[in-house]
């Protein structure tokens, strides 16, 4: 029978370092926002961060702030204010919680770092590779602060990516330079840019190595750990701080494997998480799954921040390639193949698809993929309905029962 004890996650020794990296990131932004000493670019999470770093901008990621609003459960209180401004409850709840929080002059940065407000942008930079919502989201702030909004429009839903497509996106990235210079960035310096690309690549390689330690049986960490430890891969990519952090984390993970330390004692089931995290319920889900001896060993979400295509010898082109070859940009056939390859590596015995009400872009269960994957790999899937931030779309009781029943199903299969 599925054991129902809930078990807390094991803490990492490097958690203190993680807190430091994040504190440095936000405090530096806050100082710059107040003093005006450095220019600040807001960037979508898979936007052209390396170029911004290369032009001397400090980079702030609103999606990271969105995730903090979700994890701190502030989202539920502030989303309605954005809804009331005409931003539908059906669109991205990062967007609605972030704008709602701004309207209410609230931010989780206050409690975490004693910072009273998000940093003021000098320019907003998006890439539509992930969705259109980021552009509409940033457009709101562009109007509010009266600062320029620039970005890259990427092809969507693509299988094979042609050289012409990469060239065209690379051109779009390069074409941002005059606007960024006008917005106060330093004069474009190719060497500095290449350095940022190189550091970003290194961060990616280390992050991938960290994630792949979960192919060990038992796994040294879970998806729930990774959602926390991935923060520097998002906000500190293109910096030495990002590289340094993942060297430390990787060492600790390897140490866990060597010492036989499992994230879940008596790991019995290995799962894949497809879709967005449910930020406000990470702990509850993690504890329930631990109690059931189920370890979520891999996820599409955490894998997103791997950009190994980056190459400082051809920075524009390689950036275009890295940010277009992403899972979220691709067609169903590619995505299916990708998850099958993850299955080969991580040897999971079940997949949890999170159908996030407000993010169709990350809800890959909607076009029959769970059924097709089951047919191809024999791996059963569970679909849970929820949302990244809007817990009005989530039934905790129903989800818990579904997860418990899914583990029962996997156990029956083991008899």
């Amino acid at each position: 029978m599925a054991d129902q004890k809930t078990i807390k996650r094991k803490t990492f020794e490097c958690s203190g370092k993680l807190k430091q990296v994040m504190a440095d990131h936000f405090l530096e932004l806050d100082r710059a926002s107040q003093s005006g000493d450095s220019k600040i670019a807001w960037c979508s999470s898979v936007g052209p961060a390396e170029l911004l770093r290369g032009m001397g901008f400090l980079v702030y990621y609103p999606e990271n702030h969105g995730a903090m609003l979700g994890a701190s459960r502030m989202a539920a209180d502030v989303i309605p204010y954005a809804n009331a401004e005409g931003y539908s409850p059906d669109i991205c709840s990062y967007l609605t919680s972030d704008i709602g929080a701004f309207l209410q002059e609230k931010t989780p940065l206050t409690k975490a770092y004693n910072i009273s407000a998000v940093p003021r942008p000098d320019v907003l930079v998006f890439n539509t590779n992930q969705c259109r919502d980021v552009k509409d989201w940033f457009a709101w702030y562009s109007r509010h602060f009266n600062v320029p909004l620039v970005g890259v429009h990427t092809y969507r839903e693509i299988g094979e990516i042609g050289y012409d497509q990469i060239k065209e996106i690379a051109k779009q990235i390069e074409d941002l330079i005059p606007d960024l210079e006008a917005a106060g960035g330093a004069k474009f310096d190719m060497d500095r840019f290449k350095e940022a690309v190189g550091l970003s690549k290194k961060t990616s390689q280390l992050w991938r190595a960290c994630l792949e330690t979960a192919s060990a049986v038992p796994s040294p960490w879970t998806f729930f750990d990774a959602t926390i430890h991935m923060a520097p891969a998002v906000v500190a990519r293109g910096t030495q701080a990002g590289v340094d952090y993942y060297e430390i984390l990787l060492k600790e993970l390897k140490g866990r494997i060597k010492g036989g330390i499992a994230a879940i004692e008596g790991e019995k089931h290995r799962l894949y998480w497809e879709g967005m995290p449910i930020w406000g319920k990470l702990r509850a889900l993690s504890e329930q799954l631990s109690g059931l001896k189920a370890c979520v060993v891999a996820s599409t979400y955490c894998n997103t921040w791997i950009y190994e295509q980056l190459d400082s010898a051809k920075p524009f082109e390689s950036m275009a390639q890295a940010y277009t070859e992403l899972f979220i940009v691709r067609d169903e056939a590619y995505k299916e193949q990708y998850i099958q390859e993850c299955h080969d590596l991580y040897q999971f015995d079940g997949i949890i698809f999170h159908d996030a009400k407000t993010c169709p872009n990350n809800s890959n269960n909607r076009y029959g993929m769970p059924e097709r994957l089951r047919g191809n790999t024999g791996v059963p899937a569970l679909i849970i309905n929820g949302d990244l931030n809007d817990l009005r779309c989530y039934s905790e009781e129903q989800t818990k029962t579904n997860i418990e029943a899914f583990i029962e199903q996997l156990e029956e299969g083991m008899v």
Binding site: A381, C393, S395, A405, V415
Partner: protein, 259 residues
């Protein structure tokens, strides 16, 4: 000394059911009641009625398994199983082959697929809306001001097809008002409501060859099963006392002591 007995308790969102099995897996006692607000009290009172029917006492119980929304509130339970597992178990006992179980509960529906050995291949629970569940029919019986227990006989008298298209219970209620305004007859509307429940069920998952239906709605609305048969063009199997399938499955788990 009396032979041992095994108990299954299913605390659903709407009703609580208790079954008692003898070692030969005969259903010798059963009871059901509104779940109310004190699940643990309701479970005890159902247990007492079921024991009375079986003419047994609590000391004869070897093991109890509880299931359903309130499964963790049963003080006398030895362990819990999900309602998905229990409905599957209960239905497979009656029809031991590859089956698709459709369970219509008070607040959720389940479609569970089992292979010929009774192992679950997949399951789906309905999403967040009550549309298609017992709660939907309850709400509509109130709107139409007809007793819930009269719905089945009314639906059988329908002469005209009334279509209700909406996903949502509130929208459906508006549609019902619209039909009344148009002068549609109550039996036709009730049949339309059944049809709407069936549509919600059939869109949940593709069905296998052998379909079994369980749950309280099936027990009290047998005409709905007949309509499903017409819709899918084949016979639908229904166990005895379909409202007890979950509790029956729980009692079987109690007997197994296995997973």
């Amino acid at each position: 000394m009396a032979s041992p007995i095994f108990t299954g308790v299913d605390i659903g969102a709407s009703r609580t059911k208790v079954t008692i099995l003898d070692p030969q897996k005969n259903l010798i006692g059963r009871a059901e009641k509104k779940s109310g607000t004190d699940f643990s009290d309701t479970a005890v009172s159902c247990l007492e009625s079921a024991l009375k029917m079986a003419n047994r006492s609590r000391t004869d119980i070897v093991k109890t398994v509880s299931t359903g929304y309130g499964r963790n509130n049963v003080t006398f339970s030895d362990r819990t199983k999900t309602e998905i597992g229990c409905h599957a178990k209960g239905c497979y006992f009656h029809f031991p082959k590859a089956i698709t179980v459709i369970d219509i509960g008070g607040q959720d529906n389940k479609v569970i697929k089992l292979d010929e050995k009774g192992n679950r291949i997949s399951f789906k629970m309905n999403r967040k809306c009550a549309a298609g569940t017992g709660a939907f029919l309850e709400e509509m019986s109130m709107r139409l001001d007809i007793p819930l227990e009269d719905m089945d006989s009314l639906a059988r008298k329908a002469t005209e097809q009334v279509e209700l298209g909406s996903y949502c219970t509130v929208f459906s209620a508006t549609e019902v008002l619209e039909k009344i305004r148009q002068g549609k007859k109550v039996p036709d509307i009730v049949k339309g409501l059944y049809l709407s429940v069936i549509k919600r069920l059939l869109e949940m998952d593709a069905l296998g060859d052998t379909v079994v239906m369980s749950g309280g709605v099936v027990a009290y609305n047998p005409y709905l099963v007949k309509m499903v048969e017409e819709r899918i063009g084949r016979e639908v199997l229904v166990p005895d006392f379909p409202q007890y399938s979950g509790a029956f499955g729980a009692a079987l788990f109690a007997m197994e002591g296995g997973i």
